[in-house]
């Protein structure tokens, strides 16, 4: 286990606000946004009719000079993060070093306090072991596809200190004190929460990138990984749901907690997007209904742009190039968060 480097507390953003302050402001703005949504949709329909030249992703696609390799490397960064989290939780060690080399700066993994989870429920342990193997396989298949172009594993924070990325994320969702930590390795439920933070994001990232990939071979790989990540997400969300009536860390129930995490993610990834849902049930006349799958009204999972994904893993609503789980940023050419959640002038 590498020594844990000190991580600066409350890094100031370009506007002088701390990351924590920015997160809180983003969360507050979300409430306002919801009330404005109806007006927004009316307006958006008008806009859609006159700007008929653009696909949802065309602004990104047209402006991009990114290659398939750039996109696969972006995905590889996310897989490094997921694979190491599950490896730490299952084995107490990071993924093998042979799977972490490549171009760019190979970073230090801050795993201070991370350890193998002492699972109370052996079934959860068996799920975790399966997912860890899948995620390492994804790292390796992407590295294989990229060959010498594969990026190295960047600096990552999977530690449990009060200033850790996990604690910062939990602070955004659950408003825990700045002196408190969120420890995803503490028990079964915390582990599931940690997994929950990542899995849905991976699904939206792969779906959002799917139309940008030009190579059929790469597309086939990406579709296959998308499906696996969605299987994982369905599994994790189902296991949380089975414990959904238990008291939450912040919310009244575990299910309410998932809505808080979902809201936090939504607040980071943009002012006009609602791309996230927790597992709160509904109870229409036809009977109690779960919400394992986060979908739109057409039954489709959501997409996120690369910039929106980076807003979440950097844990910042701003146009930053590093932060949160990637203290030095991701490696590769796609490194900048979108900053849709705050005005450019902010």
């Amino acid at each position: 286990m590498p020594a844990a480097p000190l991580r600066p507390c409350n890094v100031k953003g370009e506007d002088g606000m701390s990351e924590g302050q920015q997160l809180m402001e983003a969360l507050e703005s979300r409430v306002e946004r919801r009330s404005e949504r109806r007006e927004f949709f009316k307006a958006a329909l008008g806009v859609a009719a006159v700007t008929a030249g653009g696909f949802a992703f065309t602004s990104q696609a047209a402006a991009q000079t990114v290659t398939d390799n750039d996109i696969l490397n972006f995905a590889l960064n996310l897989e490094y993060l997921e694979a190491n989290f599950y490896y730490l939780a299952v084995y107490g060690t990071p993924i093998p070093l042979t799977s972490t080399t490549g171009t760019g700066t190979q970073g230090v993994l801050n795993a201070a306090g991370a350890r193998a989870v002492t699972f109370a429920d052996p079934i959860i342990a068996e799920f975790a072991r399966e997912i860890a193997a899948d995620e390492l396989a994804h790292v390796n298949v992407l590295r294989q596809a990229l060959g010498t172009a594969a990026v190295a594993q960047p600096a990552m924070d999977l530690s449990v200190a009060p200033t850790s990325a996990f604690s910062t994320a939990a602070r955004a969702a659950f408003d825990i004190p700045t002196t408190a930590s969120f420890d995803p390795y503490a028990n079964d439920l915390n582990f599931l929460y940690g997994a929950y933070i990542f899995e849905d994001v991976g699904v939206t990232a792969y779906k959002g990138a799917s139309p940008l990939i030009t190579s059929k071979a790469y597309l086939d790989v990406a579709a296959g990984i998308l499906s696996v990540e969605a299987h994982h997400a369905g599994l994790i969300r189902t296991q949380i749901d089975l414990r959904g009536d238990e008291p939450g860390l912040k919310g009244a129930t575990v299910r309410a907690d998932t809505e808080l995490v979902s809201n936090a993610r939504d607040s980071l990834d943009g002012t006009t997007s609602d791309l996230d849902q927790g597992i709160a049930q509904s109870n229409p006349p036809t009977g109690l209904t779960s919400n394992i799958v986060p979908t739109d009204g057409n039954g489709l999972a959501f997409s996120r742009t690369t910039g929106q994904v980076l807003n979440i893993v950097y844990l910042t609503p701003q146009q930053r190039s590093a932060g949160g789980f990637f203290p030095q940023g991701v490696n590769g050419t796609i490194v900048k968060a979108a900053g849709d959640a705050v005005p450019a002038a902010a």
């Binding site: 699904v203 299987h231 089975l242 039954g299």
Partner: protein, 357 residues
């Protein structure tokens, strides 16, 4: 069976999902207009946030499709599979059949044989069935909207739980029940989950297999969205089967769910007529797997996600999918254009399975 009014309430199931559509309108209407003046999504352009009792879709037929002929064929192929899944889940969760506005189209409209509401013992399993039913109905609506007047009608479908039903045929061929036994997926929670696994894994592999064949980028992203949803469903169902396969765990006891899952998987391997094909990634002959347990790095692990050694979900060609849904046990020697869950075959141009995929 419940009445139409009650059925419409199904679509109120997730009000939040309805709200999400407002956002989808912004994105999709732009895309669809750009893709060739499609008006199919006009039916969604309703700014009344209270319209929770309205069906999710009212197809507005368009005379032509913006998509290539090949894409239309793929969409219609997918629509047939969604008809099957939608019929199964709507029956099991609600004791209803698909809304009449969701089944018309080109080709011969067929009847749905069998299906009834499951008396779920576990309220959570019931809640999952309702959610999946809502998602599958939404997929049918979405595909029909995009196909417009080119959408195929629902073909004849057999989801009967009796001795002559397609589920029993599948269960007999896989050994889940003896050669003279009956498999009724509506009998209890576990049977429902096994029936769901039978259909859901096929849906995942079908969408995965078609990803590289779709010409339209707009359609590709939408298909990726359906693939993701189907994969969430499968992760849900298979993880429940794994958990319920152990006595004394949280929600139920069913000692042989895991074994049954393995049997179903083996049967599909046999009948999909698969041979190893060139990648990437390579499609292996053993492209179907039970839910475990397996051993990874010396420890016991589940196998909720059926993947190859690269951690990638398998894809199936259309022919392989057809062999499975037709329960085409003779697929290695003869093609087929109907049988099993689709007694008269699929509607549309992709309908005849081949002996050699």
């Amino acid at each position: 069976m419940i009445d139409q009014e009650t059925l419409d309430e199904v679509f109120a199931i997730a009000k939040r999902k309805r709200e999400e559509r407002r956002r989808f309108i912004k994105v999709a209407s732009t895309a669809m207009i750009a893709a060739g003046g499609m008006s199919a999504l006009a039916a969604c352009n309703n700014n009344n946030d209270e319209d929770v009792t309205a069906p999710p879709v009212t197809p507005t037929p368009t005379p032509t499709s913006a998509f290539t002929a090949g894409d239309v064929d793929i969409l219609n192929f997918a629509l047939n599979l969604e008809y099957l899944e939608g019929s199964y889940y709507t029956a099991a969760a609600l004791g209803a059949s698909l809304n009449a506005t969701l089944v018309s189209g080109t080709g011969t409209q067929g009847a749905v044989t069998g299906g009834r509401q499951v008396a779920f013992a576990d309220r959570l399993v019931a809640s999952y069935a309702r959610e999946i039913a809502a998602d599958e109905n939404a997929h049918i609506g979405f595909l029909r909207q995009n196909l417009g007047s080119l959408a195929v009608a629902i073909p004849a479908i057999n989801i009967d739980g009796g001795a002559s039903g397609a589920f029993t045929a599948a269960a007999r061929s896989s050994g889940v029940v003896p050669a003279t036994g009956t498999f009724d997926p509506y009998a209890n929670d576990d049977n429902f989950l096994l029936g769901a696994m039978l259909l859901s894994d096929v849906g995942v592999t079908a969408y995965k297999g078609s990803a590289t064949l779709i010409a339209s980028k707009t359609l590709l992203e939408a298909a990726a969205g359906i693939l993701a949803t189907e994969s969430y469903h499968t992760g849900l169902i298979r993880s429940l089967l794994y958990r319920r396969g152990v006595p004394g765990t949280t929600i139920a006891t069913a000692a042989n769910d895991r074994q049954n899952a393995e049997l179903i998987s083996n049967a599909r391997d046999t009948i999909d007529g698969n041979t190893t094909t060139a990648g990437p990634p390579a499609i292996f002959a053993d492209d179907d797997q039970g839910v475990g347990p397996v051993t990874i790095n010396g420890g016991t692990a589940s196998n909720v996600v059926p993947t190859d050694s690269n951690g990638i979900v398998f894809g199936r060609t259309a022919n392989q999918v057809l062999n499975i849904v037709y329960l085409n046990t003779n697929s290695r020697t003869a093609g087929s254009s109907g049988g099993g869950f689709f007694p008269s075959g699929l509607n549309g141009n992709i309908r005849a399975s081949a002996a050699t995929p």
